[in-house]
Assembly symmetry: D2
Homo-oligomer: 347 residues x 4
């Protein structure tokens, strides 16, 4: 009953098999090998983006920071939700990779971005002259840190603001597979066709060992991305093993199958919470994460039964008889685990 | 009738005289001259801080950024008011000088910092582990960007929070003279005796040509400050001319006399606004700045009469029949100017 | 016949097996798992350094840059050989991670550092005041980029200079296993007992998939290293798979066995070159790399026979009838491959 | 008898007068005033560069670092002489402002750059791929740190290499006035007509209080320069006083008159050294600096007579019966001072 994080799950056997297959003979290092070429091409196919630049890295923070480093000058502002992972959980990596660009926090329910607030902020800072710093980029997370999903029309609304203010639009897709599966949209419709310029396409939480793809739909970004990845130490020498992981995930649509499983388990869990007395959802459950407010005794029962998950504190939290928690379902979460958790919660 | 900024005023004749006096013969460069030593010592005396490290620079942004660069690691958070100059008007200089540290914005009326909100934020981020970044410093502005004044007990309340969370406390004193004059407190009571570690002691807005002092009450900071000033290009070679300005300002208490004049003019203007129909103060007037909400026709009359000042927009502003404006009084603002402005506003 | 790089070899089956073993169940992410604790402890045992801080990363550039980022301030100088990997091949990663510290290049045969030149440079820059930047660290590579090996007494000579000038001593051990195997010294004697403060302990070239350990013999560095790793995106979430690789390598002394094989093959190749007419070694062969000057026709024959290796240009190179080349032997280079290469070269 | 540095001289009375003239009334701050516009225009006229972007700053390090910050990406290399001020005396400011770009040192007599060595280095690093970092810019100093002068044809030779390798060409003109005076060339011929892209046009050493102009002959650089100046704290609020200084210097060709005086005094000193037994020039004297090797006793006599100047150590220096020294002549050095120095040296 581990609902701590999709990072706590292991690696899917198909990815392990792909790694084993890749382990044959000598091949060129630093991404100059055939498997890397092939995996990059697979990513382009999946995204229906034949001209996109694709660069693999081992972590999501790297993918985001490299993307943002290529998107803005140090004197520019990056707009994101106030709970965005790049603000709360990456130890100022975007600041490091951009040379000191500012994140400007925009409100929005469940990690989404309120379009009006964004538009006003972009307009305001554009008018503040040199001192204010120049609006440079927007970063949205799909699925969000609170488990919400950006649908194509929602992305397009943000993209229209980006276009109006000449901002680069980045999508942090650490849980992109979950977003695609949840939305039912084509990956292309959720990204470049809706106006996304740069995508961090996550593999790790989706069943890989440690791989993310930075995707630039406009290949003009390719050079900046390549140098930024290199100088940040994120170009792996035995690069074939990054490529193999993505290959393994994308093969036969496995990535969406795994994401669907995680999403389904979250839906089942969310539904079951309705029968836990005193429990309620803190946000709609749209992807593979369930945020819930639990009565303390339910929480205690679940913990006693061996369930692993995080209390999810926030700045505004008051001490209460209730506990806000996060349950993350993963590609290998089973219905039995969900049932066991629910049983413990119900008491 | 120029109320645009205290930056728009010229240089006081005593400062010009000090510059002329300094212009004699060859002296050592880069601060290794007797006048610099003497001016540093004068600053220490004024602040009753015999061990403080004092470093002159030409701009307030430099003073703040150098201070913060010495205060934190790149992975640390600096807490400041959401309207702090370091956030809104310095083009990410703190981020540049710290190597990418984050500013975390705290609410507070009139540029002050709400102590509870600060305490909660510091506690929250301290608990977020590596990803959250470590709380590192607090920066307060005295007088604030909205013309409020931190009194010694208010500073001490923030300093207690700083101490509890092991944070460096920085004071942006671009208008420190105005704050001292307004508070009636000894400079020492407003700073190190209240728990301030680093002070940007402004001279420029107080009647100088371009000089600020970075003051570290704990000389442990001296080395980091000296190297940071040098590598940012802020160590002037003909350094005696920075020193002379401060000397001129501090001589005979001129700095406080000038600040008092500016504050008095602001008080007179604020009082007079009560008789402008439909006008009201946006914030209490405590130093040399008056923030007012004006009826559009009063604003139009003042502009027509040749008054210079800024409309002061903010993110939350709605279009209205009213205009929010900032009037800044300076060391050379006269009562006649204030009267003329009020007359125009009254119509 | 692939002698291009030890990065072009695959992953040893024991490492693959360790990865497979690690792939069981849910475990804590970001290094908070038992396997990571165990692998860190194994590293400490191998180095006889019970108090050392050990942090795994995926690349050698990351290990070096994180180490140097923790070692110096941005205004400090890092002394290294003029052909050091950190200068020639890491795209200014040390500059990025240190916030702009300078590398100051010191001559020395075969990538070693001339101790007198180092001492003079450290003394000179220490005397140049603020403008010169402060001497901060020394970085040596073992085995060097030219295949030379630093023996304990040689390291100690550099460490004495480091101590005299208060410099941090870093060792880039991308090929540390080869150096240990070649020297016959205990890992402790080659590092902390000789005065090394920080070690990049390479696993990737030694048969792993992608793992290096940053080792700080003084645990005072631990915090800076941890935050620097995090903010640079180098803390892997599914961290157990980094740990497993190191575990696999160290188990039963495999790492030294593999290094010995690579070194032996290089020795065999170097010896065989004596019988290639017109060929000569460019540097003594002490580890797993052979630098040779070949007659063009020998080079052509080897290439025609399918041998893969790099021409190794340098700034001083003139066009000639000769070609300077680098042959790298790996943990899976066989005697038969060396013989085949030599046969081709001999014609 | 002060020959320590042109930084040790005071401010010319015409500059003081210009400052006094500027000190009238309220004017817009941050460079939005008429005097700034006029001074910028005067710089453009002097340089015959009607489209150039001109930005004033208070220090030479700032001018260089802002220029280079606008010239390169963090992953690019800047080529300069091994004794360039940006390498030896600016505390890694270029690294700070560029976000970590590398300076690659090129040999060349007397601070000049050997064109062949430069061409080879640019070609070499262009071929080294991502790891090597991309060649980005060349910086030359005119007059050089050793008192040599780049003539238009010499600049053009470097510019041809810049063009071939697509590098930005920057000229550090801390002593640009001395170079123009010495060369007899038009400022335009020494800069943009010879292929210079960015110029640090020094005022401070030429008789000002503290002002330099960053000049971008291609206005495409204007935005990057403006934001970089702002975020580094180098945009002075009371900007008219920077403008006034340049205005004062350029008025009636004063800047060249002052530079000629300094150069003439250096020539007189150099000539007189021929009659000092055992003394010799270390470099040809072409501008306002004389580098000489003196017998220890001559040196002792000069010091005893009260002459101020620096011993000029270098990395290669051996202990000897001789002393290498630098004499700097300034705009206010007199023939009598030179004679007195020579008399003391002769004994």
């Amino acid at each position: 009953m581990n609902f701590a994080s999709d990072n706590c799950s292991g690696v899917h056997r198909a990815v392990m098999a792909a790694l084993a297959s890749a382990n044959d003979g000598h091949v060129a290092s630093y991404g100059n090998d055939a498997l890397t070429r092939a995996a990059e091409e697979r990513v382009r196919e999946v995204l229906e983006a034949p001209d996109a630049a694709v660069l693999f890295t081992a972590t999501g923070t790297a993918a985001n920071a490299i993307s943002l480093g290529a998107a803005v000058h140090p004197w520019e502002r990056i707009f994101c939700n106030e709970d965005a992972h790049i603000e709360t959980s990456e130890c100022a990596a975007p600041e490091m990779f951009t040379g000191g660009a500012k994140l400007t926090l925009i409100p929005g329910e469940g990690g989404l971005i309120d379009a009006d607030a964004l538009d006003r902020a972009a307009g305001f800072w554009a008018g503040e002259g040199l001192g204010g710093g120049k609006p440079g980029a927007i970063s949205i997370t799909n699925a969000t840190e609170w488990g919400r999903v950006w649908m194509p029309d929602m992305v397009a609304e943000i993209a229209a603001i980006a276009q109006q203010h000449k901002l680069v639009l980045h999508m942090d897709g650490a849980r992109f597979a979950n977003a695609v599966a949840a939305s039912g949209a084509a990956p292309a419709d959720l990204t470049h066709r809706a106006g996304v310029d740069l995508l961090s396409f996550g593999g790790t939480k989706n069943g890989a060992m440690g791989v993310e793809a930075v995707v630039a739909f406009d290949p003009e970004f390719a050079d900046r991305l390549a140098f930024t990845r290199k100088r940040s130490g994120h170009l792996l020498s035995k690069h074939r093993y990054l490529a193999a992981q993505f290959f393994g995930l994308l093969e036969g649509g496995l990535w969406l199958e795994l994401a669907r499983q995680a999403n389904d388990m979250a839906a089942q869990l969310a539904a079951g919470l309705e029968e836990v007395e005193g429990a309620r959802l803190a946000h709609p459950t749209e992807a593979n994460m369930v945020f819930a407010v639990l009565p303390v005794d339910a929480h205690d029962r679940a913990r006693a039964a061996g369930a692993t998950y995080f209390k999810w504190s926030s700045l505004d939290e008051a001490d209460q008889d209730e506990v806000t928690v996060r349950f993350v379902c993963s590609w290998n979460t089973t219905g039995a685990e969900v049932d066991a958790l629910l049983a413990a919660l119900r008491g």
